[in-house]
């Protein structure tokens, strides 16, 4: 019989603590496959700051360290500068990367730090119980926008990937989703490209992944997949936002 699927070697054999239908487990799985396929296990270091995925180090069988909320890009910078042979990634949520860690993210990108940010956008603060995130959509109900996000008061969903794309040191930025087998495959491809940009010493790379949070969205897993397609991608369109990895000049 032909073996078509196996548990990735680098995914530890422990049960996930994530909710049913959460996107983190899928993203963990594709990343573990990828790290193995790209033969990066020996030199990769991951930084998961606070958020649901702060426990990522329980699942990835690679070197990992915690960081303060939002400081992932600065910690990754310190790692890469002190140990340039390492392949360094952060695994950050939308609150982490697009609110409290905005400065660290933009400036690491601007310096063209050879690091990769995996940016999980689920439009809410998941771990703390579903509060408004910087990426929460207009009119979206969260525990801190009980009447729906009023852009007149709470501002607009922030498009962090597009903002980061404006700085010269960022070389590869793509937005994907994990709400269908096809999109999951595209996500894996995007992360491969982002890691490759780092391996090739080109600059800062970022993959934003629209990821379902059925618990805080008060939806079934299936409904949350559909919500990404029907609602979320209208505000956050999928696709490559910036790719200058083919050029030698970073502008």
């Amino acid at each position: 019989m032909r073996k078509v699927y196996t548990r990735p070697r680098l995914l530890k054999r422990v049960p996930f603590h994530y909710c049913p239908g959460c996107g983190h487990s899928v993203i963990h799985r594709v990343m573990c496959e990828l790290i193995d396929e790209m033969d990066l296990h020996d030199r990769i270091i991951g930084i998961p700051p606070p958020g649901c995925s702060v426990f990522a180090y329980h699942y990835f069988d690679i070197d990992m360290a915690e960081s303060a909320h939002g400081r992932g890009a600065a910690v990754a910078t310190g790692i890469k500068r002190a140990f340039p042979e390492a392949i360094v990634f952060t695994y950050q949520g939308d609150g982490d990367l697009a609110a409290i860690g905005t400065a660290e993210t933009i400036h690491a990108a601007n310096r063209g730090e050879r690091i990769t940010a995996i940016f999980i956008n689920n439009a809410v603060y998941g771990m703390t119980g579903g509060q408004m995130a910087p990426t929460t959509l207009s009119d979206q109900v969260t525990t801190t926008t009980p009447y729906g996000r009023d852009t007149n008061i709470e501002g607009y969903p922030i498009k962090m990937s597009e903002i980061v794309a404006l700085v010269r040191g960022a070389v590869y930025i793509e937005r994907t989703a994990v709400n269908s087998p096809a999109n999951i495959r595209k996500t894996k491809k995007a992360i491969r490209k982002a890691f490759q940009a780092q391996i090739d010493d080109l600059g800062f790379s970022l993959v934003e992944i629209l990821s379902p949070c059925p618990t805080n969205w008060r939806m079934t897993p299936l409904e949350s997949w559909q919500w990404i397609d029907k609602v979320m991608t209208r505000e956050f369109p999928l696709g490559v936002i910036k790719d200058i990895t083919g050029k030698t000049d970073a502008d």
């Binding site: 030199r43 960081s67 400081r71 600065a74 310190g78 002190a82 400065a103 660290e104 310096r111």
Partner: protein, 353 residues
Amino acid sequence: MNGNSTIAEAAIRAGCQCYFGYPITPQNELTEYMASHLSRKKGCSFIQAESEIAAINMVYGASLVGARAMTSSSSPGISLKQEGISYLAACELPAVIVNMSRGGPGLGSISASQSDYFQATRGGGHGDYRTIVLAPSSGQELADLTHRAFDLADKYQIPVIILGDGMLGQMMEPVEFKHEAPEELPIRSNALRGAKGRPSRIIKTFTSKPAELEEINWSLFRRYQLIKKEETACETFLVEDAKLIVVAFGIAARIAKGAIKNARTNGLKVGMLRPITLWPFPSEKVKGLAKKTRHFLVFEMSMGQMIEDVQLALEGKGEVSFYGRPGGVIPTPSEVFRVVSRLYHQKGLESAK
């Protein structure tokens, strides 16, 4: 050489590989020296970070992979770094943090002050932790203690604070550097370097089990007890026959020394205790001195912070007076001499046995 550059040169000679900083007066010469002398050095890295917070987190990253790393700032900037210092302490990571402190609170002044004593010696950030705090009082000591700071940080896997002030940073003094920069330093055995030929490694404190965190806290506490026992340091000056002992640290001790010399020529038996480690505080030494001397004058460039440690050490066995100038005002030796002699007479120490 000015004090700030002295620290930078001493750090490079201690094998500091990474420096991450952010401009703030009165410590900019340190950052600038690193930009000139460390940034192009092989295997080293210098970044002028986007913020104090980013700088300390870069230090955290460099320390994770086993590099000797340092940041420096002055009071308001050090407040911003406290988050990162707490994480360094929690994850048992070595690092050297320099505070060339200035007047506060708030934006305060850019003049020298000692009002960050509490912040430095009580941990400073959130959680139950301490850092080693070294208090140099001369250009030479800036060099020597900077070197020592890196060794202590590595030995105990702990962040070490060098608590100087704006005056020490700006003062020009001759300095002898006793060390050459090492060719190569060994990589710490618990560093994150990628899981090559060994099981993967996690550096973290976060846990959903309070008992697990309690164990981490106990383990830190045991190390703190060891540091107290092994690393407490202080200098005494003319204490043998002293009827009054001035307790002062850093630049204030330098000022006090002038006053004490003047007092001696006037026949007043005054001595000095100068803590070199502010944490651990030389409590045993203070207690020992109280066996022969009853009167202590704590002199600080603040409203009185170290005085609490002196009182705790004395356990009510001595009489403690205080003189302080907050806000970045620099007292003169003659001013301190007047305070010393007034106190001496008030307490009737001329006639005391």
